[in-house]
Symmetry: C2
Subunit: 161 residues, 2 copies
């Protein structure tokens, strides 16, 4: 089945957000270097990515590198990245791991109105001069554009269930 085909129970919006999204504009600040060159070999999520035990590197473009000062003191990073190959109009989806269609906002699918993915990863090293941040794992294609990086902070980002 094509990745652009709809599965049973899936619903597409009446208009594609890619055609009208214009409320604000984002600049890419770098890219993520991973070992995954095609979708077929790319892990489906961060659990799978970690199981493979292969590190990745975020590379921040030179223009923004002054913004890395102090990041070496942090343990974990929240990475926001743009899933540039994902369609944006599938508002109800039927993922293989679920038994029924589910709304996009109840899923972590890269297919969403604004295809911004989020991973919380371990920082292994920061080199401000080259803009490179080594991380433990990530689940995206090589060359995926970065929208933002933020420190993970236990005081606000921990969840008690």
């Amino acid at each position: 089945m094509s990745e652009f085909e709809k599965r049973e129970g899936e619903i597409a919006l009446s208009a594609d957000p890619a055609d009208f999204a214009d409320d604000c504009k984002v600049v890419f600040i770098g890219k993520i270097n991973t070992s995954w060159k095609t979708r077929a070999e790319c892990p489906k999520n961060l659990v799978q990515a970690r199981q493979r035990g292969i590190k990745a590197t975020i590379e921040i473009d030179e223009f923004w590198r002054a913004g890395l000062a102090g990041l070496e003191d942090r343990s974990h990073l929240i990475v926001l990245y743009w899933m540039h190959q994902a369609r944006r109009d599938l508002i109800v989806q039927n993922p293989r791991h679920r038994n029924e269609p589910v709304g996009v906002f109840a899923l972590r699918s890269p297919v969403r109105p604004n295809p911004i993915a989020l991973s919380i990863v371990k920082i292994l090293g920061v080199d401000q001069a080259t803009g490179k941040i080594d991380i433990d794992a990530i689940d995206c294609l090589d060359g995926t554009p970065v929208v933002d990086i933020k420190p993970w902070l236990g005081t606000i980002d921990s969840v008690q269930i």
Copy 2:
């Protein structure tokens, strides 16, 4: 001191990202209704917001509401919101709670190249018909635009320090 004035040690970029950001376009999917009408009364972070014990409501626009199906089964939500009043060019900042200037990517400041803020909040209720999601607290101004909402998942978003 004006909020747009630079503090000691702060560094602005040579060009303002607001003037050239155009790598991808985002659509706002709703807004956040909070009790904070001015910056002066707005909590500075999620810890302060929680201490005040005042709930908030995310309101998803009608066009996107089918995407909420199934969210009622989740305990916590990751909210991405656009800090529309924040400047974007301050790459090194000197926050009051720190002793020295720090890079923006080591801070959770709303002032950043792409001013997307992130909070992980508790879901109190979801009403798909009205698009309203009640949450325990959040630290933004009333009317702040929403970029994305995602379920928080313990399997990928928990951090072990």
